[in-house]
Every structure is written in structure tokens, then in C-alpha cells.
């Protein structure tokens, strides 16, 4: 295996875990939400916690809302991704992620907030009340 670190003149490898957050463009009733604002907020949270993040241009997406009789909700999803040192997933960083995800889910009227951490998709469809966040 090539020594990429030496070849690139880089520091020690750290970000081995991919964290990706789905930022929807509509709420669960297909009404537009402030996607740009939520994208910026997500970038700020991931940037502060993990040093960096990238938002990718929207891709057409669909989500089945089982709580509303399986209605299909179409939107143009932005993916915000960050490469994270697994050891940086501390109780504090996870708690801050939780606060952001639950606030976005609640305020943007989402059926589900989706985040991929490593090889797992985590779906959050029940949100903490405001007093807890």
C-alpha cells in the first residue's frame, strides 16, 4: 500500500467515518422549507464539531411517509457530508447533532430526518420537545 500521507505531505489520517445528512427541500406535506438556511446551519454544526463539511447540489429524491398512508413525498435533497474521526463521536458531539436533527425535524415539519454514519442509515421520526433541546 502506498504511503499516501508522505506522498501528499499530509498530516495523520483522521477522517475515516463518513457522516452524511439529508437536507430536504419540502416538508411532509410537500410545502417548500428554508432549505438553504438548514443547509447553512448543518454546515456550521458539522464544521464546528468535525472541522469540515461539504454540501452537494440537490438530487431528486422521494420518501414514503408511512404515517400518512404511504404518501410519497418528492423533493430535491441536499446532501451535507463530512469525514470524521470516529473518536470524535463523543457524547457531547452526538448530543449536539441530536439537538440539530430534532430541531430541524420539528421546525421544518419533517416526517423523518435521515443521517448516514459509517455504513448505517439512522432515521429519526419522533422529535424531542423544544424544552429538551
Amino acid at each position: 500500500m502506498r504511503d499516501f500521507r508522505t506522498a501528499l505531505g499530509a498530516g495523520p489520517p483522521t477522517g475515516t467515518l463518513q457522516v452524511t445528512v439529508f437536507i430536504p427541500s419540502v416538508d411532509r406535506d410537500e410545502r417548500p422549507i428554508a432549505q438553504e438556511r438548514w443547509t447553512e446551519e448543518c454546515l456550521k454544526v458539522l464544521g464546528r464539531l468535525f472541522r469540515g463539511a461539504t454540501a452537494f447540489p440537490p438530487g431528486r429524491g422521494v420518501w414514503r411517509d408511512d404515517a400518512q398512508g404511504g404518501a410519497l413525498v418528492f423533493d430535491d435533497t441536499v446532501l451535507v457530508t463530512s469525514y470524521v474521526d470516529p473518536e470524535m463521536l463523543t457524547s457531547e458531539t452526538l448530543a449536539e447533532l441530536r439537538r440539530f436533527f430534532h430541531r430541524m425535524g420539528r421546525e421544518a415539519n419533517q416526517g423523518e430526518i435521515g443521517v448516514v454514519i459509517g455504513g448505517e442509515y439512522y432515521g429519526i421520526d419522533s422529535y424531542d420537545p423544544p424544552e429538551l433541546v
Binding site: 446532501l79 457530508t81 463521536l89 463523543t90 457531547e92 430534532h102
Partner: protein, 116 residues
Amino acid sequence: MAREKRRSIQEIQEALGARRVVRLDQLPSQGPLDLLQLRAELQRRLRSSGGRPTDPDWSIRRVVPFKEDHWRELEELAAACESGGQNVSPGQLAAVLVETGLRELRRKGLLKAKVR
């Protein structure tokens, strides 16, 4: 920031308050960006000179056998990779996936010959 042990899936699920967890084993890098990257590579490489878009560097055609269910998966994935009116055939997608696999083997030092 204090460093802690690596978190298990269950610990992350509970910490985030997530009701469901879905494993993404099927994707090579286990991330949702794979499909976007694959689609972008196909868009970049497939060029039309009047007929069906193709990669001008593909100069050899061979008959390759597939299992029926694998071919069906290629058809579904090819349909998902279509974008902006550009059609992608399952065979073209298979060619790109073979090249991706060869690149990965080469990166790991398991292939000596240069593969583009």
C-alpha cells in the same frame, strides 16, 4: 474535546433518538454519495456522436455472462443513473463497474498492469 471509545450502532441510535437503522452494505463505500458519483462519472464519460452515447475509449466488445438477478439489478441501477435525458444501458454501467473494481485492485497493489 475529550476523546472516547468508538461508538456502537446501538449507542449512536440511542444518542440520536433514531427509531430505525438501515445497513448500507450494498454500496462499495457504504455511503449515499456512491450513486451520485457513479452517475457523475457516467455523465462525464458517455459522449454521443450521433448515435447512442458511449465512451470513446471503449474499443473492445465481448459477450459477458450474467446471472438474471444481477442483470436486473444492473438495469435498475442504470435507470437510476439516467440524468438530464441521457440514457445509460446496463452494459455500459457494467463496464464502468468493472473498471472501478480493477482500479480498486490496482490501488491495493493486486494488479501490476496499468488500468485506466
